[in-house]
């Protein structure tokens, strides 16, 4: 709203927006069209399918097997757990004064600079030795643990944007530190929590690395790993591959479209300070 009143609109902004919108949409349109074409038509890239060839989707579901269900079973609990642990860590760090809190925060933040690839070898042996290799539970644990730095950072920022006077007033009224967290702080942080939920859903649903290292069968293999395997076979069939790809993008895309507003609001709560 701010700038509308001030800047004159000319043809230039529209041209820029439309050109980039076309470029951004083209690969997705291509994927949708390809997923509905029969093998005979597939090489005619720019044409519209003469009839809708749903067989590609049937093949995609058949080849992905259980992996889609696994992805759901992995993502939903892992998102909740990772947010929970982020909140639990962020609360004391947002309200503690002094060196201890600041040092702990700094140490947890350094986790953000660790590229996750570098822990894969010890992690593989660790998870195998505690019997969680190729299990969904193992992926819950791993996704929760590796989310700690970012979730703590995000919620710590959000909690400190909640007015401090609220905390002090509640404490003077005799509210304990723990009940302030449950009864006042969490309900006041709904937009931050939902923004983080979307970020985490994307990160966990889209993960390839941990899935590759820590699963080996349909027991726990997520959709991303299944698609990667599917795509690297020698003779790539783009029809079923595009169908599988589109199916795998739907859940997170829908989540973003539905919760877009609270996502933007939550981002601002954390960064607008």
């Amino acid at each position: 709203m701010s700038a509308q009143t001030i800047n004159r609109r000319g043809p230039v902004p529209y041209t820029v927006a439309i050109v980039f919108a076309l470029v951004f949409v083209a690969p997705l349109v291509l994927a949708i069209l390809t997923s509905l074409k029969s093998p005979a038509e597939i090489t005619r890239v720019l044409s519209v399918p003469t009839e809708l060839y749903w067989q590609n989707y049937a093949t995609a579901f058949e080849r992905m097997g259980r992996s889609l269900l696994n992805s759901i079973l992995i993502t939903a609990p892992a998102v909740v757990l990772s947010i929970a642990i982020g909140c639990v860590a962020a609360y004391p760090l947002a309200f503690m004064h002094g060196r201890g809190g600041r040092f702990t925060y700094f140490v947890l933040l350094t986790g953000m600079l660790v590229p996750f690839q570098i822990v894969q070898i010890p992690l593989f042996f660790l998870i195998r030795s505690i019997g969680l290799y190729d299990t969904i539970g193992g992926l819950w644990l791993v996704h929760t643990a590796y989310a700690i730095p970012f979730c703590t950072f995000f919620m710590r920022n959000f909690f400190s944007s909640v007015p401090r006077s609220m905390y002090e007033a509640a404490r003077i009224d005799g509210c304990s530190a723990a009940s302030y967290f449950w009864r006042l702080l969490l309900p006041a942080s709904a937009s931050g929590l939902s923004a983080l939920a979307i970020i985490q859903s994307r990160a966990i649903w889209n993960d390839l690395l941990f899935g590759m290292t820590l699963t080996s069968s349909d027991n726990a293999r997520p959709a991303t790993v299944a698609i990667a395997g599917f795509a690297s076979s020698l003779q790539v069939e783009y029809g079923p591959l595009m169908a599988a790809t589109l199916v795998s993008t739907v859940p997170v895309m829908l989540a973003f479209l539905i919760f877009q507003k609270s996502f933007v609001r939550g981002l601002l709560g954390g960064s607008g300070k």
């Binding site: 701010s2 700038a3 009143t5 004159r8 609109r9 902004p13 820029v16 927006a17 919108a21 951004f24 690969p27 994927a31 090489t43 890239v45 720019l46 642990i85 639990v88 860590a89 760090l93 004064h97 140490v107 947890l108 986790g111 953000m112 600079l113 660790v114 590229p115 690839q117 570098i118 894969q120 070898i121 992690l123 660790l126 643990a145 700690i148 400190s160 002090e168 404490r171 304990s176 530190a177 723990a178 967290f181 994307r202 889209n206 390839l208 690395l209 959709a223 990667a228 795509a231 790539v236 783009y238 790809t245 993008t249 997170v252 973003f256 996502f263 933007v264 960064s271 607008g272 300070k273």
Partner: protein, 303 residues
């Protein structure tokens, strides 16, 4: 701490806080500190991941790597990715946000379109762009042929000199949405009065953007740059799923090289040494950011 009623109350609060921190800190120790120490330990050994004994070989893995062109190539690729991730998606995201902030008709639709690719998994981005870049019937080559530029079409993912630019194109499409949204939200947060004042003083839209809006976007900018640097160091999924580092290691980054050496060739010690190098580079690049962010905490506490 003036509001704390008594010393007993203070220590109970401290205990509660310590209780809250116990589990996250324990998990951090097990999943971050232990594997890092263990990776360093492994990097001093020759081990295939199976044998009972690992052979201690000191720093030899580091020596061998530092003489390998394949390793240097991956380091250089990581550095070009870092530069690209800091500049590319950030600049395009800022441009799109500034354009949309002018109150275009259909703003909502544009916003969704610019943001959508960011929600897609890396493997899906890889699958889609492999089809876009397919050398004989792919979208890009076909489009170029149709407008008479067919002779400039390349074997996008098969030519070592082209593959990295092709991957960067895919990543630009994939990640710009995030920078765009953060900048867009930041622009909406700028008080109208400031822009009014600039206009009244005769600033052109161009001037008021660079002199007023952009400096006030600093909180958005720092988030976008920080996340980009972190993503550049973690770059793995998209490269692995699109080219697996090929052709002939041309698109390899340290993370994919490490994965190939560890889980493809079972040279755990050598792979760990690559990991340690990667951690050191990531530390040098990202530590200033972390220090800045945690200092910002101290500033905000002082308010």
């Amino acid at each position: 701490m003036a509001h704390m009623p008594a010393k007993a109350g203070w220590s109970r609060t401290t205990l509660t806080f310590a209780g809250f921190l116990a589990l996250p800190v324990a998990l951090f120790a097990v999943f971050f500190l232990y594997p890092i120490v263990s990776t360093f330990y492994l990097s001093l050994h020759d081990w295939d991941g199976v044998a009972q004994n690992m052979r201690f070989i000191g720093l030899r893995n580091y020596w061998v790597l530092s003489a390998q062109p394949r390793f240097y190539h991956a380091v250089l690729n990581n550095i070009s990715w870092l530069v690209f991730m800091l500049l590319g998606p950030t600049a395009l995201g800022l441009l799109l946000a500034a354009v949309l902030d002018r109150g275009l008709r259909g703003e909502r639709a544009f916003r969704i379109i610019f943001f959508l690719p960011f929600t897609i998994p890396a493997v899906a981005v890889a699958a889609i762009w492999r089809w876009v870049y397919e050398p004989s019937n792919g979208l890009l080559t076909t489009l170029m042929r149709n407008v008479g530029l067919g002779e400039f079409a390349q074997n996008w993912l098969g030519d070592p000199g082209v593959v990295n630019f092709a991957l960067m194109g895919a990543v630009l499409w994939w990640t710009t949405g995030f920078a765009f949204l953060v900048f867009f939200a930041g622009l909406r947060n700028i008080p109208v009065e400031l822009l009014e004042a600039a206009r009244i003083e005769g600033a052109t839209p161009w001037q008021s953007f660079w002199r007023v809006s952009f400096p006030l976007l600093w909180p958005s900018t720092i988030i976008v740059l920080g996340i980009s640097a972190i993503d550049a160091m973690r770059l793995f999924d998209i490269v692995w799923a699109t080219t697996s580092g090929g052709p002939a290691y041309a698109s390899e980054v340290l993370a994919t090289q490490m994965y190939d050496v560890a889980f493809g060739r079972f040279e755990m010690g050598r792979a760990s040494a690559i990991s340690v190098y990667l951690l050191l580079i990531a530390g040098v690049v990202i530590m200033p950011y972390i220090a800045y962010m945690s200092r910002r905490v101290a500033d905000s506490e002082a308010d």
